[in-house]
């Protein structure tokens, strides 16, 4: 994709993200944070491609580390967010 298009994507995503996230109540700010945190592990995609096509061993090793870190971020983030959100949900079931 051309730089101009990428910058456009960046601006639109920032704008939409800003709008959607402003509506999340304070109550859920911690899960929101760990959830978006998990999503920021999206760099994994970059890490996979870079590592796969890396020619030197130096790059391959670095890429391997990057994949491990990004996966911890993704899996850990989503799992812990799920745990937290279920705590909130549980209460609702009890109430009704």
């Amino acid at each position: 994709m051309s730089p101009i298009l990428l910058i456009l994507v960046f601006i639109i995503a920032t704008f939409l993200g800003y709008k959607v996230i402003s509506e999340v109540p304070t109550l859920l700010h911690t899960p929101l944070m760990s959830g978006t945190n998990a999503i920021s592990g999206v760099t994994l995609l970059g890490a996979l491609v870079s590592t796969a096509f890396a020619a030197s061993n130096k790059s391959k090793t670095l890429g391997f580390i990057a994949i491990v870190l990004a996966t911890i971020n993704l899996v850990g983030g989503f799992a812990v967010t799920d745990r937290m959100l279920k705590m909130f949900k549980k209460k609702e079931a009890v109430n009704k």
């Binding site: 730089p3 990428l6 994507v9 960046f10 995503a13 920032t14 993200g17 800003y18 959607v20 996230i21 509506e23 999340v24 109540p25 304070t26 109550l27 859920l28 911690t30 929101l32 944070m33 760990s34 959830g35 978006t36 945190n37 998990a38 999503i39 920021s40 592990g41 999206v42 760099t43 995609l45 970059g46 890490a47 996979l48 491609v49 870079s50 796969a52 096509f53 890396a54 030197s56 790059s59 391959k60 670095l62 890429g63 990057a66 491990v68 870190l69 990004a70 911890i72 899996v75 850990g76 989503f78 799992a79 812990v80 967010t81 799920d82 745990r83 909130f88 209460k91 609702e92 009890v94």
Partner: protein, 455 residues
């Protein structure tokens, strides 16, 4: 636009939908699952599209990371959430920095200027996020002291490293020679140093702002990395995370009466010196009466508001809070919780702790909604909170907390404060609440004092 770009846009929208569902506790679990599934699809898409799905090396790395991530997520307890989030932020930043480095090593000669400058930026933002977050996590986990560490010439050091980073980034963009490896590695090291210097001087109560900011940086680093490798999915998702972090940072700054610039410059909340005297302007209630015993107050109060603070988290007293709540409710009293936006060490920290002990979220009220209610409340119980309930914020001009929105606990008929001591909070401003007529102090570990109340 190719197939990949179209699928990337659809996946980004799904992530956005997932976040949107997080605006209500009822749908939030699905929201998170949708986000997670979109990410999984994105990974598979990338592997298939690039025809790298059968590379064992990638799968080994994913497996190792996945297992470690899963174990951490299952083992962590709710008290440790702030450091968990800080740690994950750091990993996100670290990944972006490494990917940028690999890209530079592999194909610098073929990069256009746009990719060169963004790869340097991803390196820098990623490096700062990595070390800054790890220091924040260590501080929150009390592996290193929570107090701000200020070195001699701290600000000068920060400014110098920032200038060096700018110079390196410019060189990294314009340089066409073999020096690029050294330049990039130096940039990474100096950005790591910058992150350490930045985080190490942040004190305890400024942590919610710092974590929110680093959250934003981890997203930004991912988006910039996306510029370098030309992947729209990284750009859009990174931007969404960046926006989320910035919103939280703004909310935190407003609630703490701090400007983002103040935090970035590292000016401490206690730097401002206030020499005047803070007088307890208490509305003299029950002046004729003897001070009532805690027991009597609890007995006769109908409407109770509980205000939790970081002290509750420290003492792990949330279970006792639940006990106390159950007891009060069984006596037919109305119990609500008032949550200040910066109570605790990260946005929403108190909500999670209270949810953990099965306190229904309908009972958790945020500051703006609960403040008008204090006036008609019989009893407010403050548990380990100081600055956020300091009435001096509305009149003590010149103090760091002047103008900061606080919970108006002093307006209720009686107040019981379960704090460790009567020392000022993080702001360093004395709390006149403690000397007011309608306030009873129960000093000591909140776990102990609450036990007495709950009996």
């Amino acid at each position: 636009m190719g197939v990949y770009e179209i699928v990337a846009i659809i996946l980004s929208l799904l992530v956005l939908l997932g976040i949107k569902l997080m605006s209500s506790p009822k749908t939030a679990v699905y929201g998170n699952q949708i986000s997670a599934l979109s990410m999984l699809s994105a990974i598979i898409l990338v592997l298939v599209y690039n025809e790298i799905i059968s590379m064992p090396l990638l799968w080994v790395a994913i497996l190792i990371g996945g297992i470690i991530g899963y174990i951490i997520a299952k083992k962590v307890n709710m008290i440790q959430m702030p450091q968990m989030v800080a740690l994950l932020n750091g990993l996100g930043g670290g990944t972006s920095a490494i990917v940028a480095l690999v890209e530079i090593f592999e194909r610098y000669e073929n990069m256009i200027y746009f990719e060169r400058i963004t790869s340097q930026l991803a390196l820098i933002v990623g490096g700062i996020t990595l070390s800054g977050s790890l220091i924040a996590a260590a501080k929150l986990d009390r592996k290193i002291p929570q107090k701000p560490v200020v070195l001699k010439g701290h600000s000068i050091l920060l400014n110098i490293s920032l200038i060096v980073l700018c110079v390196l980034a410019i060189f990294g963009t314009l340089n066409n020679y073999s020096m690029i490896d050294i330049i990039s590695i130096s940039a990474l090291f100096i950005s790591i140093l910058f992150g350490i210097l930045f985080s190490i001087r942040v004190g305890g109560a400024d942590m919610p702002i710092t974590i929110s900011l680093l959250n934003s940086c981890s997203g930004l680093a991912g988006a910039i990395c996306g510029f370098t490798i030309g992947d729209p999915l990284l750009v859009s998702v990174g931007a969404i995370v960046g926006a989320s972090g910035i919103i939280l940072t703004q909310i935190m700054c407003k609630a703490m009466n701090r400007s983002l610039m103040d935090v970035l410059k590292g000016s401490h909340i206690a730097d401002k010196t206030f020499t005047g005297e803070i007088i307890a302007v208490s509305v003299e209630r029950d002046t004729q009466e003897e001070k009532k015993s805690v027991h009597d107050i609890l007995q006769e109060s109908k409407k109770v508001i509980i205000v939790p603070g970081y002290g509750m988290a420290l003492a792990q007293a949330q279970y006792l809070v639940k006990q106390l709540t159950d007891k009060l409710e069984s006596e037919g009293k109305d119990v609500k919780f008032a949550i200040h936006p910066v109570a605790g060490r990260m946005p929403g920290h108190m909500n999670v702790l209270l949810a953990e002990v099965d306190i229904p979220y309908e009972k958790l009220w945020d500051m703006d909604n609960i403040n008008p209610e204090f006036e008609e409340t019989d009893l407010t119980i403050v548990i380990g909170a100081c600055d956020v309930v300091n009435p001096a914020a509305s009149y003590a001009e010149g103090t760091p907390i002047y103008g900061m929105p606080v919970l108006d606990v002093d307006k209720s008929k009686y107040v019981i404060v379960c704090n460790m001591d009567t020392k000022p909070g993080y702001s360093g401003v004395e709390n006149p609440l403690y000397n007011m007529n309608n306030v009873t102090m129960l000093l000591g570990n909140a776990a102990e004092t609450l036990k007495k109340l709950a009996e």
